[in-house]
């Protein structure tokens, strides 16, 4: 059965950072329609910081790596998404603790814990037009799959479909909630980031697996 080593997770994090950086302007534009127009700038800064902090760690375990990512999100990003992405990684740390190589169910546990953490923190459910609209289907699709390759692919597809589904929703959380009905017609930037994130992982996995 396939496993992932911590060093590989670092490469995965770099792949994510590259992807969100490439799409920074798109994410800013999406956020300009619904919020304050900074989502791309802050998300790319945070993932680049996470990748750099991780690269600087000396022989990190998977949970060290997840902790470093959490800290980068919390401290370098700030804002709503800093707290939420930070919580996502923070809650993933306990399931990973003491693991040297991650098998699929380890990863599943980390992602599920992260999802629950985000929902508890932000009080958003699917349909509220937030990142949860992409994250929940992605994590559940990953969990339902038999092995990594399939899991990442279906997670990426689920996230993208979830992100797209936010377009016609009114907003109920975050800055956008004050727009209410005026938010319809715009895709949520946080959900789009989740889609980019799983797409980057899928690409990284297929590119190397």
């Amino acid at each position: 059965m396939m496993t992932i080593r911590a060093a590989q997770l670092a490469a995965m994090m770099q792949a994510i950072a590259r992807r969100v950086t490439a799409e920074r302007e798109l994410l800013n534009r999406l956020d300009a329609a619904l919020g304050d127009g900074d989502h791309g700038t802050s998300i790319s800064a945070a993932f680049n910081a996470a990748a750099a902090d991780i690269a600087a760690l000396d022989q990190p375990s998977a949970s060290d790596l997840w902790t470093a990512a959490a800290k980068a999100m919390l401290n370098r990003m700030g804002g709503a998404s800093g707290a939420l992405f930070g919580t996502f990684f923070l809650k993933g740390v306990p399931p990973l603790r003491g693991k040297d190589r991650l098998n699929k169910s380890d990863m599943e546990a980390a992602l599920l814990a992260g999802l629950q953490g985000v929902k508890a923190r932000g009080k958003a459910e699917v349909g509220d037009k937030t990142m949860v609209d992409a994250l929940e289907p992605a994590v559940l699709a990953f969990a339902a799959a038999e092995e990594f390759a399939d899991g990442w692919r279906q997670a990426a597809e689920g996230a993208r479909a979830g992100a797209e589904s936010t377009r016609e929703l009114p907003a109920r959380r975050g800055r956008a909630k004050y727009l209410g009905e005026r938010a319809r017609g715009h895709i949520d930037p946080g959900a789009t980031t989740i889609a980019l994130l799983f797409e980057a992982i899928d690409g990284w996995w297929t590119g190397k697996a």
Binding site: D38, T41, S42, L74, A80, S81, A83, K177
Partner: protein, 336 residues
């Protein structure tokens, strides 16, 4: 109308740090910089008094930097532009504010600020810091209906909280009393903003939203978030006649009430315009028998160079009036 895009900055990445360098250098007799973007009083308040901590994004200057000082707040944790600082930095701020009587974390209600504040309080718990509490503050009537006040955003009207809570915590109040006072001021405050123009982010270089010359947006957020309604821009009097009634109806403010009034410049409105607007506010309040105790007109909580303003009213009683008149010496809020 196109927003001004050339900003007098150096590198976009350095804006906040360079701004803090400049601010703290200019006002070194009032503030000092510490740690990771904390702004503290140059001389901390006496031991045994509740510390007041406020985190928030930048782009609202002089808020909150300008309100650190005697009679005002103790610590400001400075975030990126329009971005709440993260929980570890808030924790550092709480530590710095504690003078032995605990610290009150004041949160201007926005998703990012609230989420990071909650995380910071969990971090406090985990570290065994227990004489800390948090109060969520809001005032913007455009952001949720009357029955859902606690969903509303924090905007310029929180100025009233900062001033009176600051004065209150120069005294012997404990943490619970401080929190109750903050809630009292909040629950007597209502605000509504409007704008004639958007602003351009100095980081992305993009305008926050498009607003045609000759249009106005009512219910702007403090970060240039678009509001609830757009319409043709009106005269000064007509604008006040549109904005004041919903504010009055919301609390409601009534004949016989005494109020403080804030006309907050969102950025690039002229004082000339604000005085003309205030004239109408004063006239209309007199008409309905509401007495103005004192007023402030100027740039307090800005949204970069937005051309707009917020109108805020706070109903006061004898306690609040005395707190309002107590001395204060922040770089941008002085009361003799």
């Amino acid at each position: 109308m196109s927003a001004r895009k050339h900003k007098l900055i150096n590198k976009p990445d350095n804006i906040v740090d360079e701004m803090l360098d400049g601010f703290c250098a200019a006002y070194s007799h009032i503030v000092r910089r510490a740690g990771d973007r904390l702004v503290l009083r140059a001389q901390p308040k006496a031991a045994g008094k509740v510390g007041l901590v406020m985190g928030g994004g930048s782009g609202h200057e002089p808020a909150m930097l300008g309100w650190i000082g005697p009679g005002l707040l103790d610590v400001n944790i400075v975030g990126d532009i329009f971005t709440a600082p993260g929980p570890e930095r808030i924790l550092a701020g709480i530590r710095a504010a504690d003078r032995g009587a605990g610290a009150l974390l004041c949160v201007s209600h926005h998703e990012g600020d609230r989420l990071n504040a909650e995380l910071a309080l969990e971090f406090c718990q985990a570290e065994g810091i227990d004489d800390v509490d948090m109060v969520i503050l809001y005032d913007d009537i455009s952001s949720a209906p009357k029955s859902r006040e606690s969903d509303r955003r924090g905007t310029a009207g929180l100025f009233f909280v900062w001033k009176m809570l600051g004065a209150f915590c120069e005294g012997d109040a404990d943490l619970a009393a401080a929190k109750a006072l903050a809630q009292k001021v909040r629950d007597n405050t209502r605000s509504l903003a409007m704008s004639l123009s958007s602003c351009a982010s100095p980081v992305t270089g993009e305008v926050m939203f498009e607003l045609n010359e000759g249009d106005m947006e009512i219910g702007m957020g403090l970060h240039g978030e678009i509001g609830r309604g757009r319409q043709q821009a009106l005269s000064a009097d007509a604008t006040i006649d549109l904005m004041l009634p919903p504010i009055l109806a919301d609390l409601p403010f009534q004949a016989g009430d005494e109020v403080l009034v804030l006309l907050n410049n969102s950025g690039s409105l002229t004082l000339m315009e604000l005085f003309i607007l205030y004239r109408r506010v004063a006239f209309k309040l007199r008409e309905v028998g509401i007495r103005v105790y004192k007023s402030w007109i100027g740039p307090y909580a800005t949204t970069l160079e937005t051309a707009g303003f917020a109108l805020s009213l706070c109903r006061v009683d004898e306690q609040l009036k005395a707190l309002w008149d107590a001395p204060a010496n922040g770089a941008y809020m002085k009361q003799l």
